[in-house]
Symmetry: C2
Subunit: 457 residues, 2 copies
């Protein structure tokens, strides 16, 4: 059966566009979770028509199809947990159109996020979503996971920029949702249903984006605090003050130490926590916004410093992006959860998570997008040490319990995939799960597209 499938794929796409070599399969067997599942075959379509053929074949042969962008996801969204075909978008990587009159961009799913950003910026336009992985993550993956990033405080997430999607359904039929308009209320909102669907409903072949004019100026401010909680209070106070920064990033002592030790960057001196805040707007407005934010931070006990120029600001943001790889070096295993709480609950959430460090005897490092209540909680453990691993599992469950108790959600930008599926019932009721399964059935009655994810089967 497998041999026959491979033969048919070779005939459809050409030998050069499929591989079953063990060393290739290995490369497509993992993502940022470091879990590993070997696919049966990896396929590289170049056009929507080739995707149609692949989906038709998968339907006939009842073989799972796993869409894959850069494999940079944190919850296993692109892993072939039930085998089958990994369908990579890497050969569908063209920006097809930038429409300066309508402020839209049309791209193939394999375009790297940062490439779109730079291309539109050169034209004075702005694509705001900025996941930390933007230099390698793909836009198709961003849509599948509804990726976020620091700028979500002011500019929202991937969902807020998708105007339409061309996609191929299981069975091979191509559909188009949305168009070059902001207002569109004909039928249920399939566009936003596909955003965040984690590759389980349809294979995206084209994405239509809404762009903004590029903001004339930005400014960056650093605020140091003597406790995590105090920094959390400053975030709530900034939001309450009616200023809307572009980003408010939180970094705790553990993360500061790691960046210093492994990336050689000193960000926070002796501070226990730090906020990195960006504002944007008209040239003459930016200094005033920074002043107001500094005032609020000082009132909550912080000391502040404004980046003197673009170079210094960029250095700070590079340091911020270095955190995730740096802390990975502290312990053999890093469990990275991206909980979200209402912003007003941040001080409480941070204090309660801090208490877990002592309770379980594991370092817990917190950093992330405090401005929208989205904190990356990193539990440092060792998968090979049964005792430490068991403790970490308990700590994860307790982090989630605290999050939900404070009115939050288990995932702000990473999705459910396989890693959060066991905890899904803590957040979603059985009836809601039934609805999700009903939607899945409407799109994919044979459960061929990215099976084994999101607790759907």
């Amino acid at each position: 059966m497998k041999g026959k499938l491979i033969k048919r794929l070779e005939k459809l796409l050409g030998e050069e566009n499929i591989t079953t070599r063990p060393e290739d399969l290995l490369c497509y067997s993992f993502d940022a979770t470091r879990e590993e599942f070997i696919p049966d075959v990896v396929v590289f379509p170049s056009t929507p028509e080739e995707v149609v053929k692949i989906m038709e074949l998968a339907w006939e042969e009842e073989v799972p199809v796993i869409p894959r962008g850069a494999g940079s996801g944190f919850t296993g969204g692109s892993l072939p947990v039930k085998g089958g075909m990994v369908v990579s978008t890497e050969k569908m990587n063209r920006i097809l159109e930038i429409d300066e009159r309508n402020l839209t961009a049309l791209v193939e799913p394999g375009v790297v996020t940062g490439e779109l950003q730079q291309t539109v910026e050169a034209l004075g336009l702005f694509y705001p979503p900025d996941p930390a992985s933007l230099t390698f993550s793909t836009l198709g993956g961003n849509v599948a996971e509804n990726a976020g990033g620091p700028r979500a405080v002011k500019y929202g997430v991937t969902r807020d920029y998708v105007l339409g999607i061309e996609a191929v359904l299981p069975g091979g039929e191509k559909i188009t949702t949305g168009r070059k308009v902001v207002k569109d209320v004909v039928g249920y909102d399939l566009t936003r249903l596909l955003v965040g669907s984690e590759g389980t409903l349809a294979f995206f072949t084209r994405i239509l984006w809404r762009l903004l004019p590029y903001p004339p100026a930005t400014g960056t401010l650093l605020a140091l605090f003597s406790s995590r909680e105090q920094a959390g209070e400053a975030v709530a106070a900034i939001i309450h003050s009616r200023v809307l920064p572009t980003a408010i990033e939180f970094v705790d002592r553990g993360a500061l130490d790691a960046v210093k030790k492994y990336a050689g960057v000193e960000m926070g001196n002796q501070a226990q926590a730090l906020l990195l805040i960006e504002v944007d707007g008209e040239e003459e407005l930016v200094p005033r916004l920074l002043e107001k934010v500094a005032e609020v931070c000082q009132q909550t006990g912080g000391t502040t410093r404004v980046a003197k120029d673009q170079a210094e600001a960029q250095e700070l943001w590079l340091a911020r992006r270095a955190i995730s790889p740096a802390i990975a070096q502290i312990a053999p295993t890093k469990i990275n959860e991206d909980i979200v709480v209402p912003r007003s609950e941040l001080p409480r959430a941070l204090a309660r998570i801090e208490a877990l460090e002592e309770k379980y005897g594991l370092p817990i490092i917190c950093f992330g997008h405090a401005g929208d209540g989205n904190i990356h909680v990193n539990i440092m453990t060792d998968k090979k040490d049964p005792e430490k691993w068991a403790k970490a599992q308990k700590a994860v469950r307790e982090v989630f319990a605290i999050t939900l108790e404070l009115g939050g959600t288990l995932s702000g930008e990473h999705g459910v995939g396989i890693t959060k599926a066991p905890y899904l019932s803590m957040e979603l009721s059985p009836r809601v799960m039934e609805l999700l399964k009903g939607i899945k059935r409407a799109f994919d009655p044979k459960n061929l597209l990215n099976p084994g994810k999101m607790g759907l089967d």
Copy 2:
């Protein structure tokens, strides 16, 4: 059967909360389409628990449930086309919480849009969506139809402000989607699926809104043009110039005449078309934005005038809102379609629609939200004159064909309901319709909630 149903309803909710009196039924039999369908009974729940009871009863007795806000919809969304219970939200009209720390509001579905707006404005906060009916339309209805308004150019539509929904499903189970956070990627996006679902998936009992800080200042500018097309070109040029106004409203000569004649307001002197443009931002920024917009309008042949103060600006906006009722007086029947085209296609769309006036010998009046390509095309006819009516029907179909040819959509903010259902297949493919029906089945397997709408049955 009907007698038994009424008895059970009386027992559940109290006699004072249900009515079958013919004069009452009449009041709940129509909406802004002026179509008429008499319900069997009208019910007035005050709490989510009462809605649960109603939905349980409807499930048992297999009676249609038609959610109803203010009945201000333009496509028949609240009409009981298959009889059954109209369930009015008018007793569920409380603003439950305004959370100034998280910039959110929690409301019942029967709250009037303008009331929320005024309440949050008094606290320095902003709820941007502004459908023309905002002084009487309800937020529940706005969510069901994904209402828009002029400010969508900069601020988006209702969808962009809904953070979460509490709703009762057919069968009576209550679900909650979303929470007080901007980022939330756990499961498919049921929140946005419910927005714009036209009362066919669930009965909303509570809505959680995202609010913004209120913009410090606004400014209004009037630009007069010697043709519709020229005004359309100015819109495209403004967007291309990288300025993002709050609103760009278009008014043609026919609408100007009607406002003058029936509302006694002179807006446009001898102009053939007019743009009413609002910008907002920091106090000192607003004059500069107005200047830039004026320059662009002049370059495309317009003459411009800035409203000297808030009073004059308000007068202009009142005149704009008077258009819809004023033109209704021109002919016995007004067919009001709210097509959307990509903004760059506006000049072409307006020119082609103008040509239909002559072709069919009917006045066609265009006005609306040009800034996002959303134009209200009003075909003036007489339903009682078979010849005129037939011509109007042909003109409607041709307006839609032009719209789709230019990459647009049949409805920007009014929805499908019953009036646009016959045209749905012009825009949505059979496979997409199947998907919509599959989603409907997952929520409402007995087809009890607002049946006969959106071409779903």
